[in-house]
Amino acid sequence: MTNASTAIDAAATGPSFVARLLRHQEMALLLCLVLVIAFFSFTAENFFSVRNMTNVLGQASLALTAGIGCAIVFISGEVDISIGSLLATIALPLIIIMNETGSLALGVSGALLFGLIVGCINGYLTAYVGINSLIVTLGMMFVLRGGVYLYTGQRAIPDDAMLDSFILLSDGRLFNVIPYSAVIALILLFAFAYMMRHRPFGRQIYAVGGNQEVARLAGYDVRRVKFICFIISALLATVAGIILAARVGSAQHTAGLNFEFQVVAATVLGGVSLAGGIGSLWGMALGVLILQFLSNGLRGLGLPTEWQLVITGMIIIAAVAFDEAKRRRANGG
């Protein structure tokens, strides 16, 4: 936790230990998460059970996995909103190859290769050609979604291979407790969080997002860093897409609609700045979990999904507004 907001916090001497602790972005989020869980544990039936908790973790694994990529691209100072469409697109090579060959490894390789190509295109157009990443990935979003509609004729392609290993990805649980999808997401989260904090490349990403000119003068290859960030984002969205395809057991043309908005919202809620250079993957993960537990708890209370949307929307605005107010106060303006 050595991000920029923490540095600001450290400069101001707080009145008490607790207050100082709360100034940490991640601590405030953790407190939020605990409050959300506590609230629904008392109000919603069957909320506070191992089964439900691990279910939520499994549901969160999609946004968690893709969120890592989203946060890394944000920290590098760019955006990637093509991930929702990519989620639907990579299910095509995955399912088709598996149906043809009966091999999960080949299917996953095909999907990852497709994701890699999309990431390279996004990264090349943004970093090397210099087109605004919002435009590039908006265009990519249209192309991919339209491509899926074209190819499938707006019908789902079922998984005929029914491989055990693939089904395990949706139903299987480690030690019969934690869903494998959540295990994958958590491993990726730990690995990338380690990279962002303790590897030179992670620092380069923060440097590039924080101040591109300074990063360039410090000898970093700004273009290469951004290029790789887009590849990471696309590959992680691919992994999320594989998990989703396993869960629904088919390639759905509508899969991942609005997914990019959910992920962006959770990432920003987690304190990752759109301006680049600020935030952490832990914050993003807490943002995803808060939203996921919230929607699960609201469902537990018997509220219709529409209310969940309304409340989630309000909370996102409130959280970002609160964070902004805190930051301005910390900056003395």
């Binding site: 339209g146 908005f261 529409e306 929307g313 605005i317 970002v320």
Partner: protein, 326 residues
Amino acid sequence: MSETTHPSPGRSAGSQFLGSEQLVLALILAALCIAISIAAPQFYSEANIIAILRQCALVLIVASGMTMLIITAEVDLSVGASLAFVGCIGMAALNATHSLALGFLAALAFGGGVGLINGLVATKLKVNSLIGTIGMMMMLQGGVYLFTREAVQNHHHIAAFTDLGAGYVGPIPVPVIFAAVIFAVAYVTLRFTTLGRYIYAVGANEKAVRLSGMRSDRLKLFAFVVTGLCVGVAGMILASLMNAGQPTAGRGFELTVIAAVILGGTSLFGGRGSIVGTLLGVLLLKVIDNGIIILGWNQDLQMVVPGVVIIVASYLDIMRNRANAS
């Protein structure tokens, strides 16, 4: 790149109107029209041209407001969800009051209100408008289903309401007239008024505008409300076209609008852009849509082709800028 906003006096009227940035777009559009009409001569029939203009109208109405908003360096992603909600509210108000004026007022009040809230969240709470309006989008998508589970049907049968979407003045459809008027107002405002100059200024350098004594927040708030009001008008026209307030309408509409504005050369970083470019962007997207239908191609291409066009147009723009610079 400020030539677009402040044309030098030496240029011809044509290039002043278009600006060098829109030239690429105009050429693409012309080439496309020629190509489609060679492949399918019925493209240039009067009926088809009017059909294209009619399809452009809804997008252009909202895109006019959105252009102003993006020039101030803000964005509104809630317009699609708001469009659906406005249609339901307008239709419900018409059913209740049997007055077109009151129905229209309700739609404008709702659309403008949403814009006002978006603007207050962005300017007072300092929430990045990309996020703030995603939040608003979620609230409206949920809210419209809480308001009505199914489409609000037309129980009032006011003839003037049907004319909003389907009527003609001479050969020109009514929605096209609405779009033309709103476009003209936006054009004059951005081009010839002090307010327009300040809208560019606040997007280019907000701090400088604030330090020179202008209230930058109010300018942004103004742009948000104008966008919301445009959604109000478009929502009523859409409700009239569908003869119902559909809670599911407007999915993806925000992306079409923003794509048209960006295609027109308006920078997402603010301070740069033109409403004429937006007009060309809307025309280009809709001519592509129309061409795909006329040529009998798979309609799912209507998503793929605009995506490619957005990227290619941005690419050409960057290449042209580099060529100019060297």
